[in-house]
Symmetry: C2
Subunit: 416 residues, 2 copies
């Protein structure tokens, strides 16, 4: 029998306790031992909970209990989760987490402590919720050099974009809808501004390339500026708009970015709708492989946490060699030096003048027209591929043209 | 340093040797030790191969070499692979295989020997080629009770169906095309008759439900009878035809089947094209999760084999508790007792008579008409859901109707 503690009795924490009880028999068969929750840490009261006898507000009850060999940290946020996790690891307790913020910020250090102590710090649930991605990347694709990862890593923004595309809802209406359904927080910034996806791609990058990637330095754009007109132009192009997180080896640097992108309907990520997430991995031997499922939610996330716990029970005496180095230099490639193609929409009266100037400045562009009274005074086009530095300078130039009244949108385009 | 032997120097075997050499440094980092190929077993000569000094025709060179702790079996077929694998396991050598035929037939026994000897018999590459599925099912979804698996498990048939759907090629032309591209064998029966998919779903069923499932008793239909008219009718229905392998818990039985199915375009498997495979798994906690990638080919398959080898090197002293029991009773549910809906096409002159009879016999059907000169003398319809026993009997009845000249097609329908 293995005794564990759960820190944080919110949505995921209560899901973890439920799954361990509900599937106790099959878990015992797979792990080889029964798994019992001995303590639950939370500062709140849960007088109605069936587990209230396990609750404590004092983290020492967990840290000082030698019977507890595995701690599940599902509190979220960097502090006090960081302090508690470090203390647990230093006390020789394995830690399993769903806390992407903490893994992105301090993963390198926590993994090093785990290795030193010959225990594990597992975080399958931190990326893609229930979707198996950390273990497949680390184990199943271990024979591959990972060349590139593209992912839809945030369910909230994918739900909002799906509502805009499928139902013609505005961003604001779709966000409110998502909040009413419980898919978005009351303060939605972490999701809609792309920060959540950014932390996840930082974790996947570190895991794939073996070095810490500073999530705060990853170029990150959210979806708040995406309009229904953009969605319609994308449709006219046979494409859809998705919030795409990308990470790619670029010489000895890593190119990582989170931004809305216009991707062709045939792209494997284009069909990923609603709150679903998907991660497309390109390895040198395997080619493209994709993992798809629910990227959040009580039971999907709990499922990933409990799978990590089972894996630890099966290998309680050894470290699993997941590690990335804590490097001080900035591993990230300068985004200005990377290639991209832009979709640009501008307000203009003299369209012919715009066509000519745009073709002169960007090189031959594809112009797109849609039947929509709101866009009659617009010119929309897709540029050829250039370095971002060049594209940004070119945008600054067209902004100054007398025939261009305003720039409405700039969205990167993935060409089929 | 860990020394391994490779049995079979065909496409996959040479891929394994290549990947181990090419990615030696990152494999050493992940495994914690270097991995060296010491012997390659094959009865053929490879005078041009860089590895010719490693070749042997005598399996004793491997079995009697105490330095070899892991054997890769990529020979295919049941014999002599079965005898060699058993001998290697009994000699305390871990075995990694891509041989679905052997795993489907003797997996239970070979896993039991591995457990007894505290070593491993790994077979990630046997299902889905390079797609991680065995390890995710066994580890990442370990907290779940698996409710259902649906998969496109054969790349050859998926390529042929994609050509029929996208390019309007006939089955025969698409098969020839697949053979020219090296996607289909000269004798394509194992693929196009569904036997390959059947072995794979037998393995996934055994793994998910913990008991041996006899692949020879799984109801299996291939795609040889699918015509371009069927493809067009499916399109009219907003659907596509795919060869779907399904496995589902049904009380204390397992329902497994391989057959062409008409599935709606919105189905997650509908967009899986060309030689790609995908496996959709439903777990009680995680909901739907899908794994997608290249289901065959030299390097994708080698990637999965080498990942298994790395995992063994990291855990050389322990069994991974993958096991299913070898039961004598037949675990499979009688397909006649399972529910289905049929798409049926019949030749007829008096269509009104057919409409009336069909509605009377099956209950209210949906009739489908397409603009195609070849189908002007046909009536096509989709039946309500019934037990297969009832549907088969009903088909026998309409076959005898004087207004029905012939039955052209019967294909199961997945209603969205």
């Amino acid at each position: 029998m293995v005794k564990i503690a759960v820190m944080g009795f919110g949505v995921v924490g209560s899901g973890v306790v439920d799954v361990i009880k509900k599937n106790a028999e099959s878990i015992r068969r797979k792990a080889g031992k029964s798994i019992i929750v001995k303590h639950i840490l939370d500062i709140r009261e849960f007088p109605e909970s069936l587990e209230r006898h396990l609750l404590t507000k004092n983290v020492d009850d967990i840290m000082n209990d030698d019977e507890v060999s595995i701690v599940v940290e599902v509190m979220g946020g960097v502090e006090p989760a960081y302090a508690f996790t470090k203390r647990a690891l230093l006390a020789g307790k394995h830690v399993v987490t769903s806390n992407k913020e903490l893994v992105a910020a301090h993963g390198a250090e926590l993994l090093a402590i785990a290795k030193e102590k010959n225990i594990n710090y597992f975080f399958e649930a931190s990326v893609g919720g229930g979707i198996p991605i950390i273990r497949p990347l680390n184990q199943c694709l271990a024979a591959n050099e990972i060349a590139e990862i593209n992912g839809i890593l945030n369910g909230t923004t994918n739900y909002i974009l799906t509502q805009m595309i499928r139902k013609g809802q505005s961003f604001e209406d779709a966000l409110q809808d998502a909040q009413e359904k419980g898919y978005a927080e009351r303060n939605p910034a972490a999701d809609v501004e792309g920060h959540d996806a950014c932390r996840k791609i930082a974790i996947l990058s570190a895991l794939s390339f073996g070095k810490h990637v500073d999530s705060e330095k990853i170029h990150t754009e959210g979806i708040t500026k995406i309009s229904l007109e953009d969605v319609e132009y994308a449709e006219e192009m046979g494409s859809v708009i998705k919030l795409i997180a990308v990470s790619k080896k670029l010489g000895d640097k890593v190119f990582a970015r989170v931004s809305p992108m216009i991707i062709p309907r045939e792209h494997p990520l284009a069909g990923v709708e609603d709150v679903f997430n998907a991660i497309l991995v390109k390895g040198d031997a395997i080619g493209d492989v994709m993992f798809y499922g629910r990227g959040a939610g009580k039971f999907p996330t709990a499922s990933a946490v409990v799978a990590d716990v089972i894996d630890i029970v099966k290998n309680i005496d050894r470290n699993n060699r997941i590690i990335w180095s804590k490097n001080d230099e900035n591993l990230l490639a300068d985004i200005k030096e990377t290639m991209a193609s832009y979709f640009v929409r501008v307000k203009a009266d003299d369209k012919t003048a715009v066509y000519n100037s745009v073709n002169k400045i960007f090189g031959d562009c594809s112009f797109i027209t849609i039947e929509n009274s709101k866009t009659q005074d617009e010119v929309a086009f897709v540029t050829p591929e250039h370095k971002e530095a060049y594209l940004q300078e070119a945008v600054a130039r067209i902004k100054k043209l007398s025939c261009v009244h305003a720039i409405c949108s700039i969205i990167r385009v993935e060409k089929g």
